[in-house]
């Protein structure tokens, strides 16, 4: 279950950043997880809730943006949507496809709450 160790890395990273900023709580986390990144968003959310217990990120809402896979043909340069690493160029039938989008795996931003009534 690699989503668990990944959830723990996310918690560690966001908590470190939030502390640096003097936050009392993290209310939101924006993630970018490409459809080809090999991560199951639902499973990640599930793991995140237990990985974040007792940390600044405990109540954070995970918003996950999932960019579609896009391949670029190494022969003719055509760009087209791909659902997995294996793809064939619809234009020239080449199998030399480079993935140009869909492998992203980023913490884009966090929303923190600061002390102060």
């Amino acid at each position: 279950m690699h989503e668990m160790s990944i959830a723990m890395s996310i918690v560690e990273a966001v908590v470190a950043n939030a502390q640096k900023e003097g936050a009392v709580r993290i209310s939101g986390i924006d993630l970018l997880i490409g459809k080809l990144a090999g991560i199951e968003p639902e499973s990640l959310k599930f793991c995140f809730s237990s990985a974040s217990k007792g940390t600044l990120a405990e109540d954070a809402v995970l918003a996950i943006d999932e960019p579609e896979g896009i391949g670029e043909c190494g022969e003719c340069g055509m760009r087209f949507p791909v659902t997995f690493y294996y793809a064939e160029c619809p234009e020239c039938r080449s199998l030399r496809i480079k993935i140009v989008s869909g492998e992203e795996f980023l913490i884009q931003s966090i929303t923190i709450e600061e002390e102060g009534e």
Partner: protein, 275 residues
């Protein structure tokens, strides 16, 4: 034991050595500052009973644009730099449980050893069985027991390397935990990833686990001695693998009979001389 980050002595990975039952090193990120908070510290404001209007107007968005695996990737790059500086060729061996990773090491290391020093890192959730098998060859070996973890990461390898007696201009074989899913996501600092499949697994493996085959540099189809007894289309498997990764180097071997291992040995020695 810290429930917050799993940084406990019982929860994390442990290094072991064959024949040294006292030897036992916990893998902890001791070089990094321990930055987590514990419940009750940061949530004190909720328990004091004084009423907040829940932090109104005080929230702030911070842009990070940070790779989720950044910490692992940075450490992997440090490992890679260390290997390069000492001219150590590090290979990461990956497969499902039982495809023949340890058997392969047992077969080629004795042949290679006469010309190049070899060291091995073994990854398994439990036991030192695989490290014991390598130890019998007389090469330095360290076992990483990941406990509940299903893959090796760059920190475990970083620690293991410090405990290993490695020579310059040598080969380091890292046998990952048997699993075709998440070890693909964790860079260890290796020069190349070698993925092994066996003919008892089905020729559609590369399509079922595309991330692994996409990340691999070299694929070894093992147990070809069993081809007469199983339904496995070698050409189809190879084609499937190439669809996922057209740069993949391809070998067909039987670790048991030795068939096809000459080509692998030759490839490896060439790599060792010119990497």
């Amino acid at each position: 034991m810290c429930d917050t980050c799993g940084c406990s002595a019982d929860g994390g990975a442990v290094l072991r050595k064959p024949g040294e039952s006292d030897y036992h090193v916990h893998v902890t990120p001791d070089t990094e500052e321990h930055t987590h908070h514990h419940a009750g510290e940061e949530h004190h404001d909720h328990d004091h009973g004084h009423q907040h209007h829940h932090h109104e107007g005080t929230s702030r968005k911070i842009m990070l644009e940070q790779d989720v695996l950044q910490k692992n990737n940075l450490l992997a790059e440090r490992n890679r730099g260390y290997f390069e500086a000492r001219n150590i060729l590090a290979l990461n061996f990956l497969s499902s449980p039982g495809s023949g990773k340890t058997s392969l090491l047992e077969k080629f290391i004795p042949l290679l050893q006469q010309r190049f020093p070899v060291a091995v890192i073994e990854g398994d959730q439990q036991t030192t069985n695989d490290a014991d098998r390598i130890h019998a060859l007389g090469v330095p070996v360290i076992q990483i027991n990941t406990g509940s973890g299903c893959h090796l990461d760059a920190l475990m390898v970083n620690r293991a390397v410090k405990e290993l007696d490695m020579q310059d201009n040598s080969l380091l074989c890292i046998e990952n935990v048997g699993n075709l899913v998440c070890p693909a996501l964790f860079d260890l600092g290796e020069a190349l990833k070698v993925v092994i499949i066996s003919v008892t697994e089905g020729d559609d493996k590369p399509l079922k686990y595309p991330t692994m085959f996409h990340e691999a540099d070299l694929c070894m189809l093992n147990k070809i001695d069993l081809l007469p007894y199983v339904e496995f289309d070698v050409a189809k498997c190879r084609k499937n693998a190439m669809r996922v990764n057209h740069h993949l180097e391809w070998f067909e071997v039987s670790v048991k009979t030795g068939e096809g291992l000459d080509a692998w040995q030759e490839w490896l020695e060439k790599r060792l001389l010119h990497h």
